[in-house]
């Protein structure tokens, strides 16, 4: 069983090579290396964007309109059964959105307020790390965390992995039909039809962003409650706002580095 010197050197050499190139890290957290920089925030590859959003809860926004704009555009079915519901963007009270930050002495306004939540398009997304098929992936050019619904095997590992409950699973046939079409909703024939047995979530309207448009929820805002922009561009509107407003992010302690910022 003795390991002779040559074998030992071979193993030692290999370990060093892996160590030097950061191969081990690359294996565990792909994309980490090219993005690593001192401190927590990954430095961007030159020219790459990182889309982000500012949710300004102090604005009198018509949040319901934002939700409807998203869900109508993507034919997200409205399912009454809470267990099977599918949601891309929705509202939740403070203690659900920022668990651990609530207190008994919080202002009544805050207690009553419903916060807008959606996928955070994290810079270090846990959902991407756990997906066994790359059906969930991060676009290197702009940081949008995408879903390939034709690749997904429906293992739901990403649902266990996302620390924000941002993902939904199609437990049943999800196509809009007489049962799920409510309140005069019309099917958007331009959005590809979805399937049962796969996971889905907000995609920052990647298909619109690619055409230079804003996400549907942002377009539906009237009072500037949602601002969408490139976090890597120091001159973007969102960066200007982040510079002057005090903002917080959801669960910063879990290290996913969310791209959604809240003015509470």
């Amino acid at each position: 069983m003795a390991i002779d010197r040559r074998d030992f050197l071979k193993v030692a050499g290999l370990t060093t090579v892996i160590g030097l190139t950061g191969g081990g890290l690359e294996l565990l957290r792909p994309g980490d290396l090219d993005a690593s920089a001192p401190g927590h925030e990954p430095a961007a590859a030159p020219g790459a964007k990182q889309w982000g959003m500012l949710v300004d809860m102090s604005r009198k926004e018509n949040w319901q309109a934002c939700i409807e704009a998203c869900h109508n555009l993507h034919n997200v079915p409205s399912i009454d059964d809470k267990k099977e519901e599918i949601k891309w963007i929705w509202q939740a009270p403070f203690q659900e959105v920022f668990p651990g930050s609530e207190s008994a002495y919080m202002s009544d306004v805050m207690k009553a307020r419903q916060f807008m939540v959606l996928c955070n398009h994290c810079a270090e997304p846990a959902c991407v790390r756990v997906c066994p098929t790359k059906a969930t992936f991060k676009r290197p050019e702009d940081g949008i965390v995408m879903m390939d619904m034709h690749r997904c095997i429906g293992c739901r590992f990403c649902m266990a992995g996302c620390p924000y409950g941002a993902r939904s699973f199609n437990w049943r046939e999800p196509r809009l039909d007489a049962l799920t079409l409510k309140g005069g909703r019309k099917i958007n024939l331009e959005y590809p039809t979805r399937e049962r047995g796969v996971v889905e979530k907000c995609t920052f309207c990647a298909e619109r962003v690619d055409e230079g448009k804003q996400p549907a929820c942002v377009e539906a805002t009237r009072n500037g409650g949602l601002v969408f922009g490139d976090l890597n561009d120091p001159h973007s509107e969102i960066r200007q706002l982040l510079r002057v407003k005090s903002t917080i992010r959801r669960k910063p302690e879990v290290g996913t580095n969310p791209s959604i910022f809240y003015v509470v």
């Binding site: 267990k83 099977e84 519901e85 959105v97 098929t133 095997i153 293992c155 649902m159």
Partner: protein
């Protein structure tokens, strides 16, 4: 050799027919699930894994436990296990098969399962789990079969099999470690985010698997001429005792860390499991049953003199321990991780009737495979005895 699985007493046929019937019910239920979707289960947006994944997690342990025979026998030349080592390996084959079936039953798109191989993703632990599970299945089929063949021919096992046997030892540890990593590496799930997850998995595996093996040996002794021998059973009992003690110790470490630190997120799931949270207490009776059975079994193992010779009592004790561990890992560990959800919601989970039938069906497939393999192994052993 395999044709021997087709011969046997009428009791054997009756048992296999019963299993066949249960498998049939499982298949029908699965057809229903396949056509309708996983909506027919009790799982939800908040509790997105249920009975299937928890059974898989539990059975990985049963599979890994074969190493408790292989290691002393091949590495330390502990001859007493020679007669039953193949029974351990066959138990591993049946368990890994069940694991793979449970994963398949849980997929929303089972026909796309090959995507895991077509698009290998080394950063996903699920990818590695698939690699180690299939590898372990292969190793046990190979080692078990070759060992049995040479036993039949009354020759020592061929030399070339040795490396595979040695490989199977760390491999058994790997299947359970990797499965623990499925849970332990997730941010935002306090209950699972613990470095002791893998040791806990191994301790409970090395208690639960051998406990089942003792029961199986005692059954085999009743229904055939083959006897594993007092010493083998006694050694297995020792293994079970210490592994079970270690397991309880590990659980207490978790409880201490959660409650002494007083961090709410770390306490919530334990509160949910053992006392109920926000009025939801569905798993509480289960967890206490598990605790009582587990502690009772350990006390019996440690204090009852001559327990190892009293076959009936030993079987009862091992049964209690096995059920205790099944509840702990086959229900509490996986379901508990989802309560409360990342949005602090408490959603309870009740498995649906078809879900339970599919689960029973897969267990029946496991027992069917196990019975057939044991039938082959024992008929050969019986032949050698006369």
């Amino acid at each position: 050799m395999i044709e021997r699985a087709l011969t046997g007493s009428s009791r054997y046929y009756g048992w296999m027919t019963l299993l066949g019937g249960l498998i049939g019910l499982g298949v029908i239920s699965y057809a229903y699930q396949y056509n309708t979707g996983l909506g027919i289960t009790g799982m939800s947006r908040d509790v997105s894994w249920g009975l299937y994944i928890s059974q898989f997690t539990f059975l990985v342990g049963v599979a890994a436990s074969a190493v408790m025979l292989v290691l002393p026998y091949y590495l330390h030349n502990y001859k007493t296990f020679g007669k039953i080592v193949v029974l351990g390996e066959f138990l591993a084959i049946a368990s890994v098969t069940m694991c793979l079936l449970f994963i398949l039953a849980d997929l929303g798109k089972p026909m796309r399962a090959l995507n895991v191989i077509l698009h290998p993703t080394p950063n996903s632990i699920l990818f590695w789990d698939m690699v180690v599970l299939n590898g372990y299945l292969f190793l046990n089929v190979l080692c078990g079969w070759v060992a049995l063949l040479s036993e039949k021919k009354e020759v020592p096992p061929p030399k070339w099999i040795k490396p595979f046997i040695y490989l199977s030892i760390p491999w058994a540890v790997s299947i359970h470690t990797v499965t623990a990593f499925l849970y332990a590496g997730l941010p935002g799930r306090h209950f699972w985010l613990t470095a002791i997850m893998a040791p806990r998995f191994l301790a409970s595996a090395f208690a639960g698997g051998p406990a089942l093996l003792i029961i199986l040996c005692l059954i085999v002794k009743r229904v055939s001429k083959f006897d594993a021998g007092k010493e083998a059973i006694s050694k297995l009992t020792t293994i079970v005792t210490y592994a079970a003690l270690l397991n309880i110790f590990f659980v207490l470490l978790e409880v201490f860390t959660a409650f002494y630190s007083n961090i709410p997120g770390h306490m919530h799931t334990l509160q949910y499991l053992f006392a109920g949270l926000h009025g939801h207490a569905q798993l509480v009776p289960w967890m206490w049953t598990s605790t009582i059975l587990g502690v009772g079994a350990i006390l019996a193992l440690l204090t009852v003199p001559g327990l190892r010779e009293k076959e009936g009592l030993l079987a009862l004790t091992c049964g209690a321990l096995f059920i205790s561990l099944w509840i702990d890992k086959g229900l509490g560990l996986v379901l508990g991780g989802f309560v409360p959800s990342p949005m602090e919601a408490v959603t309870e989970y009740h498995p649906s009737a078809p879900e339970i039938l599919i689960t029973i069906g897969i267990w029946s497939i496991g027992f069917f495979i196990l019975s057939a393999l044991y039938r082959v192994a024992i008929s050969i052993k019986e032949e050698k005895m006369v």
